[in-house]
Symmetry: C2
Subunit: 156 residues, 2 copies
DNA sequence: TTAATCCCGAAAAAATTTCATCAAATTATA
DNA sequence: TATAATTTGATGAAATTTTTTCGGGATTAA
């Protein structure tokens, strides 16, 4: 993974298009960024080996599969030992309803975005999964009323 | 978009696989979920027309393109009129550095996840973009120290 | 039980991707 | 500025993938 790839304006356009639609054919992509399919193909390979362009994923409508409720959860770990933090992070990775987790500056140790089917669902997760976990010291939950924007596309 | 599709266990496996790797061929997918390529293809089409399976996107390493800093920003709008809210939400959609935005219960109106290159970058965004916007009443920002987990895959 | 329907997998057809080659164009360098 | 190195787009062929078609078996309804 050569970390030192210099990105030019066509690379940027490729990244933009592919972040919006990862299923574009090379021909369509070439047309949109004003290049040839061969060149697009080469650039994509380079961006991939540089670790800039990573996975392809398909998105699923969360509400349609019973995870339409988003909860933002601020959390403190019981203590700040390396072991506790490692246990906590492993635990976070094991729970599919935890979509995102950030280690935070400020009053709380972590901030989580958790999806749930409804309030009762989340109550169960909070009381019997999160707060029961030995690494977790405390939590404060805030429900999202609605989703205004969700993007996976980083600015390029 | 027929909303009434009943999802069975093979559909669920397909969704799981495709959320993890959207570039799987139908043949590989068929093998993993224990079905045939044609059947997988048909199920995918149904899941798509039902609006359950949505876009294919490629992910980009945010840090490698200069957006490695995550900031969680709580925000109040200036007032709660329909117009102010609509203006605010249109503004949010127009800003690529705002990756996510939730309308929230509790003390704040919205919660944003914003990406930036560094602290100075964010300072500029906060002072000259967010707080300068006529719909924005106030904000409180919290920097993420690190990203513990980021998943686009909803539980199925 | 029969008939209609649905879902399946196999196979064929159509399209796309992958990757090599080459000459021209562009860029860097001496 | 001349030369070297790199990048580009066109081309094409092989491999792979997507999509359609089709007959048969399971399921359901009458």
């Amino acid at each position: 993974m050569k970390d030192n790839l210099v990105i030019d304006s066509i690379d940027r356009r490729i990244l933009t298009e592919l972040q919006a639609n990862g299923a574009l054919s090379h021909a369509e992509l070439a047309q949109r960024v004003g290049s040839s399919t061969a060149s697009c193909w080469r650039r994509i390979k380079l961006l991939e080996t540089a670790g800039i362009l990573t996975r392809t994923v398909r998105l699923v409508d969360a509400a349609k599969v019973g995870s339409g409720v988003n909860v933002i959860c601020n959390l403190r770990v019981r203590d700040h030992s390396r072991e506790t933090r490692a246990n906590f992070e492993a635990f976070i990775h094991s729970r599919p309803e935890v979509m995102e987790c950030f280690s935070m500056s400020g009053d709380w140790d972590y901030l989580l975005r958790v999806v749930a089917g409804d309030v009762a669902d989340y109550e169960h997760f909070l009381m019997h999964v999160l707060l029961d976990h030995p690494s977790v010291g405390g939590a404060s939950s805030h429900f999202a009323l609605s989703l205004t924007k969700y993007s996976t596309a980083v600015p390029v």
